[in-house]
Symmetry: C2
Subunit: 224 residues, 2 copies
């Protein structure tokens, strides 16, 4: 996710490998989702590094949210908040907090989302978890609640990465940034914590890195 | 996710609502995924509380892992580990750590998975993130590394919930358990942390709770 671009051209010091060219071709046109023609069921097979100029509309964002809004969270708390940086001014405020390798592509992306957890999500529980009217009172400890908020919001980010892709768009999640700095800059209210940044758009030229190795099932699944 | 069963019958003190019955019907037969016929693109619209006796095979588990293995993680670290509890002895060891409302359904589920983070995932980075040979050395601090492991493993749990569903199965994620106790019981090596439990199977009678309210897009997506 924080990898530098791996399949490069132009100023690259070596030509793209055959595998690299093959992968590019295979992934150049992700399938579009549509009625009766759902997108890939799983997320982020590739992290996009470049995008076309085609914008990502508010309607597309709402459609993605609609796809993922029923994903489960603890207490049905739904703590994920998504701050879309559309204005040039907002984008400029973000860039200093990014690792240097993430700045140019983020400045150029059609849409940048700051994905954050609402630590005070419990205030909505009487409405979201109505069959347990006391649930809000179980979460009075802020430290424990912040951990819950981060956990459920991170699950929701997993759903979101799926949703972006299912909507026919490409996502470029970035963990390489100063999260505390972004939290202070964009959430001065003190109730939100930035967790991840994500560029979103239609994949551009040389968008895809060479695929990195994945662990095999027998390395990650054990049985007792 | 930790909600008690909401649409009930039998010993329930009130009959299921009309909405409850309607929802049950609509969700009683999740679409099966298959070649050219992918399952729903998004996860966990419903959390299953009961399952049929039909087993979940190792081949199904491997197929689910294959669906989700390319999901992005920081440093491509893939810290999620899945411990399947199949034997009666293993199941018996788990039950005392569950909240009382989760015990009976977990005892009866065809498959129970303990979803955990491998805090020492960095040991594999030379192989998983080969273009940054020093990445392992950036993660020598255990506390910071554990936070990274939990974050990426939680994203992967989000993908997993999608994958279970895309494979035509139902998932019952449970956060209501003693995570430190489960970690001690099943991961005495000290390098893993249990994050979530998940029952998996084919949905049984009265498997679905009444749908809880979800936040609207304008409540969770803001623009700058």
């Amino acid at each position: 996710m924080t990898a530098r671009r791996w399949c490069t051209t132009g100023a690259a010091t070596r030509p793209p490998s055959r595998r690299c060219r093959r992968e590019r071709t295979r992934h150049a046109r992700p399938a579009r989702a549509g009625p009766g023609r759902p997108g890939p069921a799983v997320p982020g097979a590739r992290t996009a590094d470049t995008f076309t100029d085609e914008p990502v509309t508010d309607a597309q964002v709402a459609a993605i949210h609609d796809l993922i809004r029923h994903g489960p969270t603890a207490y049905n708390g739904q703590p994920l908040r998504v701050l879309l940086l559309r204005s040039a001014a907002a984008r400029t405020r973000l860039l200093p907090y990014l690792s240097s390798s993430n700045r140019a592509k983020t400045a150029a992306a059609p849409l940048v989302a700051v994905l954050a957890a609402d630590v005070d999500f419990h205030e909505r529980l009487p409405e979201l978890y109505p069959h347990r009217p006391r649930a809000r009172d179980w979460l009075t400890d802020r430290v424990a609640r912040a951990e819950q908020a981060r956990f459920s919001a991170t699950l929701q980010i997993g759903y979101l990465l799926v949703g972006v892709r299912a909507a026919g768009l490409a996502a470029g999640p970035m963990a390489g940034f100063d999260a505390a700095g972004v939290t202070r800059e964009f959430f001065p209210d003190g109730r939100h914590e930035a967790l991840l940044l994500m560029n979103v758009g239609h994949p551009g030229p040389d968008a895809w890195r060479e695929r990195l190795p994945r662990l095999n099932t027998e390395e990650v699944v054990w049985t007792l």
